[in-house]
Symmetry: D2
Subunit: 353 residues, 4 copies
């Protein structure tokens, strides 16, 4: 029985931190192959290998590393486009790709808040993908890098008990700011009490992920989220401290069971065996020690305990560039492929990995 | 008119991080002079200058730096003892000093929770000092280093509106762990999600500070506090993120006015002109930039905004070794002196500084 | 054709940073298996899994992780002992193991300077192993963690040209100090200008490695080495800046060729394909980017250029816990096995891996 | 007896890290006052207070903080111009200021190598100032931030013994790269093996400082310097490790005496009582502990010992933004004022501070 040919993919923003990790994930992917790469104007025409660190080039292999960077507005041949663009360029480029009939899987925040555009984590709300069709263009987004681990832990709690309110404080790593992140001069022996523009995202994306699709749009779950987002001198790994009010004040043991038994999502190559890893070591999660669990896709949940003000308090941690960005986008692309939502491509049968 | 002679003070735990800062504050103090120093067994008999960094020895001056370290259980001659002991030794040593008739001003946590022993910040609850007498021994404590800035900001809010609940997340600096703090190998590119034994203190000390004295004991204020305490790779300066429920849901502007107009405390040499510095720069407070304001005694309050879950959200920051320890203890000693609560010593008239 | 049974090994100092890495290297080793583990008194009797981080325990597998820690002076059954002891205990323990007939491969500095005891890097001086016999006990040592990369680069230069003098400045990572390394409070925003006791080792070990065996003892190469050893806030990876005087003032291109063509050592499972990786990127080597090359066993050589005072100047970098400790010891054990110098064990044929 | 009016000064590049520190030094200067400030185009027309951190603005006082930023090519009224420009703009701007008759004291590297333009450290070569006149324009430069401490220690050794060669390795702090310095993502848990363009400066500036003025130009001292310049994750404070060959192989004690007795320079307000502080604590100098000695102007010299290859080995450290930049420039301006080399201004008598 022959293997079907791998689906050609165009990667936009290929030379950034997230773009590189998407490429690395695709380099040995069972379903996809990198066919086209695009970057900002100053890189156009150069080979990918010249614009990424030597180690990344080697890991990509000759064929991919030798691809020449195209402009963002090129007419791509691949039916599937993975976009690691910043929000500004994404707002310009992605709608045109939709018009041209591409399935666009985007890590950008540009269209995440639009109720008609799905915001998806495969283990949380794969049904939201129904907002895009099978044969026509459309955007699929993944959440903000701090929201991803938070929503994964809130999902089973919301299903089983109902979430009534969340107070969140994030400890975010510098790689979340991309290559032009905070300088040593500013952030050494220090931390920043705010990441500009981040709190709005953290305060609304989880509700959309846990919302319901009706009449071609998402109705967000109604609970309030209050967020403080900070930047700490850590390379990778976003940690979020949560205080959560639950309906019916369930006992702590039930909350723990609910988190521990959160079902794995659909069988996709990028998803870890279990989305949540619950630890009872009170000194975990720690960013450096826990960020790479499950290839950066497993969310470590720790410090679960009663909260004197709400019901429960706990922390979540995941790799911001994987579960929070590159891995999230690739997983969403896989979900599209599995559901037959890549224009012109047959659905991939489960277990094809 | 002649200056009265300065009050002799014994400093316990003189060689630790907090002890050194107490000594530095006393070295040029208008009311006090360091007469005796004590440390743990292995230092006894050595001169102070041999047991502290060269810079500290120079700043202390020949007379103080030349003092020989006594054992903890020495019979001290000074009526006033400042204790920078860890909790374990404090629990043994301090009661004996009380029996011997000393006024003990302690930074230790050993007796802070005892309702009969005052826990004091001069600007917050100077009246609690009535729990100790004028001519006899007794312990006066200052709060945990993360609680100090928190309580100073909650104090005016509780007086004016009434605090109903607090969700706190701390970002604590390594100097809070003393000399034997976290190693680079453990904490670099990382943070710890818990400081063992710290959350209990943060969850109960603010309520005692904002409580009332009745019948020889403090009745703590009844609001719940939920705390997560973390260690971050910062040298000095504890930052606390707060979500606060207030009675009557006051408008944000009234909350801001209340914080901004928090009255200075009694006129004591160590207190800054104003206990709170309110900033509307959204990128402040930052530990490295704000920790030394007011000699480490001014609390910087920032990021004040409405909270989607409770009423207001804001951050506080102060130097953990000053407002959170050494400066706090010296200020309490000054308050004792001003109220005539140092056995055998006349009250110091206001303005004597 | 059947695989011969793996050689049982006892690991001493199994719970330290180096000991753990030795265990991890042996856990899937083609020639060796961990049969016995020993540690300091306070761990004796406990299972290895209780005394190492959870991740390490999992990686070791149930059988090894379940071993109980024996005392250092146990009568070990394994013919081969790998010692990751500190110098003090090593000085006591290792001679007794020799008397009991064990081949002791030691990472300790205790006996490195003894001319009758071989100090070996397989690619540099495998012939020095002749100082120990085939069937009787004896110690084999590997060099100091900063010397290892330095000696590997000096070796081909000394063979081809002759080294006349070396001025070295090291930048050493904190893991070199083991678990009880520098605190954040001391080393953050800082560096230490000296590692106590280190310069003596760096100033004499390279010459022994490049020396000759005559009459049962090593005669060190005669060139002088001047070393400054510093500690920098880096987790892993020792970098050494070198200014080297060579006989005959060879042109830079010849020096580069000599380094680039340094022959791989004997075919041992732990050795990388090539011991030196020469880079012409002027911004390399960097500790975080280059320390893991070749499983931490490849030395990255960079910044090669003429020196205004001596002949050439360049930098070397390797992982201090691998090429500088655990990997070095395991490679030496492999060399012993290949040369038939493990008492009672047949030589392992080349290619057995 | 009346105080003479303070000399008006124009500060160029006023908003950068070095410019701000020049302003802070001038804000309470006994001889100078800030009369004009200039910056790059995007700041022109704004008040200084808007372009510097709030703390700096407060420290400067209302008058200076309220000055409006002028363009670089403004016609300045002040006879003295302090330039904190980067090398590129300095090359354009400074010659025009000379033509317009200004005394330009420049921190830029643009003209440092020109034998006709003095490169000066007041304690080292105040006589080189004779290269500029008294009543006409001309540039006076201060050395590279790593060279400054190095040259101050080499100066007495060269005078007394004669330096024959220097092998230098620098450990340079991030503030040396200005505001746009290395990111946490690049430099955390890491170091850079090169600072581009820096080694050339370190390899030639000390010789010019220790050279002699003949026929309107400096003849550099003839000894070779070999330099490796690295960037380490330290905020402030450049440390340099030196191996030095001296004529006549003097005993170490004589070298120590020579360093310890290095005479203070001319009596200028910015100079510390003694330029060198010699320590015999083997763990010093350390950047964080020693950089602020003497207001950042005192060079800490430590780890003095024999060198196995050359004669002596030692380390020097000073604050790169003070002894290496702002303080150096202000001291040179004072030297000009003391020698009557500010056009149209009477020499300031010694002791006028």
């Amino acid at each position: 029985m022959s293997t079907p040919p791998r689906i050609p993919v165009a990667v936009l923003g290929a030379t950034g931190l997230v773009g590189q990790r998407i490429l690395l994930r695709l380099a040995r992917h069972p379903w996809f192959r990198v066919a086209e790469v695009a970057a900002s104007e100053r890189s156009v025409g150069r080979r990918l290998s010249e614009q990424v660190p030597a180690e990344v080039g080697e890991a990509l292999g000759h064929e991919v590393a030798g691809l020449r960077l195209q402009p963002m507005d090129a007419g791509f041949l691949s039916p599937l486009v993975l976009s690691a663009l910043p929000s500004g360029p994404a707002r310009q480029v992605e709608p045109r790709l939709v018009e041209a009939g591409h399935r666009v899987v985007s890590n950008a925040s540009a269209f995440r808040a639009d109720p008609a555009i799905p915001l998806v984590i495969p283990e949380v709300n794969p049904d939201h993908l129904a907002l895009v069709g099978h044969g026509d263009g459309g955007i699929v987004t993944n959440p903000n890098c701090a929201v991803a681990p938070m929503a994964l832990a809130l999902a089973p709690l919301h299903r089983v008990f109902g979430v009534e309110g969340v107070v969140a404080t994030t400890f975010q790593a510098v790689s979340g700011a991309g290559r032009g992140g905070p300088s040593v001069l500013d952030l050494s022996d220090n931390l920043f009490p705010l990441i500009q523009g981040e709190e709005e995202k953290v305060e609304r994306e989880a509700q959309k992920l846990l919302g319901t699709v009706e009449g071609g749009a998402v109705t967000s779950a109604p609970f309030p989220v209050s967020a403080t987002t900070t930047r700490v001198p850590v390379l990778h790994g976003h940690l979020v401290d949560l205080s959560v009010a639950l309906k019916g004040r369930p006992p702590l043991a039930e909350v723990a069971d609910t988190l521990a038994s959160f079902a794995p999502g659909p069988a996709l190559p990028t998803l870890p065996p279990s989305p949540l890893h619950l630890t009872d070591d009170p000194m975990r999660p720690q960013p450096r020690l826990d960020r790479d669990r499950g290839g950066g896709m497993t969310v470590t949940v720790g410090r679960l305990r009663p909260c004197a003000v709400h019901d429960v308090r706990f922390m979540v941690l995941a790799h911001n560039l994987e579960r929070g960005a590159a891995g999230a986008a690739v997983a969403n692309a896989e979900l599209c492929a599995a559901q037959g939502r890549i224009p012109g491509v047959e659905p991939i049968r489960e277990g094809a990995a």
